[in-house]
Amino acid sequence: MLNTITRRDFLKMGAASTAVLAIETQFGPIASAAERLVEGGRSVNRTSGLPRSFLPSTCMQCQAGCGNISYIEESRVVKIGGNPMHLSNQGSLCARGQAGINALYDPDRLLTPLKRAKGVRGNNDWISISWEEAYNEIAVAFSAARANPGDFVFLTDDLAQDYLGRRFTNAFGSPNAIGSTGVYDANKLVGTQLTWGRAGDMPDFANSKYILVFGANPLESNPQFVGIAKRFVDAMQQNQAKVVAFDIRLTNTSTRANEIYYVNPGTYALLALSMANVIMQEGLHNAAFIKEWTNVSPAELAQHLAQYTPERAEAETGVSALVIRRIATEFAATSPATTVTDAMLSNYANGVQNERAVMLLNIITGNIDSKGGLCMPVQYYLAEPDPVPSSPAPSVLSNPPDLPFAYQQAVEKTMEMIKDRKHGVNVLMTHGVNPVYSNPDMGMTEDVLKDQTLIPYHIAVTPFMNETAVLADIILPETTYLEDWDIEVRPSPELVPYVSLKQSVVPAMESAKSFYEIATQLAAMIGGGMEQYFAFGSVENYLKARIANIPGVKQAGGLDYLKQHGVWYDPKTRPNYASYMAGGFSTPSGKVEIYSQQLAEKGFAGMPSYEPIANFRELGANEMVLSIFDTAIQTDARTGNCMWLDEIQHDNPVWINPETAARLGIKDGEVVKLTRSHKSGDAKERSIQSTAYLTEGIHPEVVAMANGNGRAESGSVAEGEPLNSDEIKEIEPHALQDANMKLVWWKEKGAGIGVNAKQIVPVSPDPIGGGQAWGDVVVTVAKA
């Protein structure tokens, strides 16, 4: 390092530098000197023109879309809280929502378009390019793809929420806009759709007096998380509702239940059907409702259920016949009552049947769309601005032929089909989705994405680098949800529909752009008629067009109202219980389809049935069922770069029952290896390692691990390193590293960053719902 320098040297250097700058004309001064001082006392948000103190918006850190408020000081968000006005979360906001600041201000954010340097995908060699260059290159790729528009594949997280993505895909002429419910709750959506003609449900906890929890965990994870959790608590505290939980694990929810019972894995349907059997046998069912509003008679149903005796259920489920009879009786005798399920119930090969079996309990007791019962989801449906692109004919990707009910959602199947060359791809665009991490068989997904013969061109639209984006050819830095605009609607836990606004609470950072901008620009450049579907003129016009079919919003003040309040709903609206009275159910029969002709036609059991999981029979001495569960802290791949969340959940030890552990000679804290059993199919990775966490809180035949850990290519915080350790040639401490090391204390502790348990799970959808059967995997457990 220099110790002294002469003035002459300095002057010469300065002159030479000025000369160099003059040669390179493309880079000009970015700051112009102004003589004026900025007036004090003003505090105006440049985006919305509102006083710069707080701005409501919609959180996107998970599925729920809660109303949030960003508190802004001196151009930056300093705190995020819940919006008290919002019908869903009513002012509360979970850890993820609070940690939105970590995402917005992540030092590892991508802020400029990146193009893959020469070499193979995954090398992580990039060069920055301008947006103009990026758009030009992408437009060229799309123009070439015009010859086979159906080979354009668009992967996104939630197809309902990503309207622009769907529209873009269809406008280009492809049916292949594919969402990710396949790796989340597709089976539940299909199960409910087949039964009462609507995808999903909404238990009316706030008015319930009895709640049966089947494998669900509303106090930690749910598509409407905070809103549903609050009302669940209301039920317990205000209604003194009795809660009985059936699960394979102790959760935040089940530990607050009045009674909790372990259920042998994969046997939920048998448990529910035996309870339904008891209710019918004891004459406790609502005969009138069954006769009038379902498509079977009580006698037919009782006959079908007779095979599911409590004794049989006791033998297979592990729940005693006495308990089955008592709980069934209590449930039927208490009004109002409801069940609650979520993806954990139906992420099995028999997932759809599990869902239909549990729904049956509500159906036969008349707790359907009733106050305090299991209600049909209620939400606004947004307008599609004219002109609307036509829906191209389905493909094997959008409608896999062997998954008749899995439309545009079986993303795990998508990767497999591409690998098996069942469908060609010319351009792949991934938007806010990370299939490498989120899908089963991570190794296979990676191989597919690395293979340029399978996927010639991959555009990743994302604010952050991740396991999928690192395999792209071009990365477009997207704005985070705090710098983005859209209209958001979700099923309402209040059973009153609402319109929520997602608005930019601070200007887009550096070169990040919203998907609206990206799609609009690309559509214009690709042209050939596509541009007409993205000719809104401004994002404001687009937003207004989306709410054009909800007259109340306009009357209240439209977009301006939403900007100020974050949410609109009709204050005069009350829950429309028994809505089916006005026109029946949206099923082929117009009734609740206890018997599904649609299922029978495809060769599946038409009545809710118990179909045992073959894998689970005769488990070997050290064979366990692997359960991967969601937490209240990490949302799969979405939140790994949020430091506050990583501090709470930075690794995922293996939950193992102490009896089981003793038998296997495993001590608490020891490193264990989980190896997928051969009976559980094939995935590239066969085993994972983590530390054992001995707890009574897990069924003796189950081992469980949290989802959301073991991130890679996701920045320093997610990876628990100040710098990517592969790239460091010699780690010599310097201040930044030191500072980060101290903050990322879990790395010091040796706990590591956990592991992506999903990588050893093979692609295996429920044949009915197309939803990945995460829960079917059998592993052997041994000391590593």
Partner: protein, 211 residues
Amino acid sequence: MAGEKLEMARARAGLYGLMSRVFSDKPTAALLKGMKEPKMQESMASFEVPFDEEFLAGDDEQQAEELAVEYARLFLATGSHIAPYESVFVRGWAEDKPQLWGEATVEVSKFYEQAGLELREGQTPDHLGIELEAVAVMAECEAARRESGDAAGAAGLEELQRRFCQEHLKRWVPEFCEAVSRQAESGFYRGMADLTASLVRLHCGEEPIID
């Protein structure tokens, strides 16, 4: 004396401008070519960071391509990524982690406002390239005032630059440059990091400029 100060201000503007350019975007062939000019190389030698012979002889276009990859790896993507923002290195008392738009960013932003500097939309105030350019602009203004005989104005700008040095650059730039120097695979970024560290140390008074 005024003449000397004028020369120094101009030199500062040039140097800081160049350093700003280096850390704001990947290098172009034109930039590399300009830096390879003998006058520049002579100067870089006096700062102990000349290009080595191999680099001097190399093809500008190809080198620009290779350095673009390193630029992305060091400053843009994950990997060796060293986020070039003051708030990542200097944490406010209320902050528990390095982040963009931290308290330091606000301080820098306020400084620009007071100094009459205006940022283009979308820029982050405490990005290294922006901070270096801020000094370059202030130095230019200082030079302009000296030329027009406005001694008081010039002194004011001199003071602003001194303050910016002490309150901001000095707090993190040498440390940032050290990290870059360690992680850089190319002599180019190692050299530029060393040069910037020297420059800041000089300007911020750690090493005197001797006559």
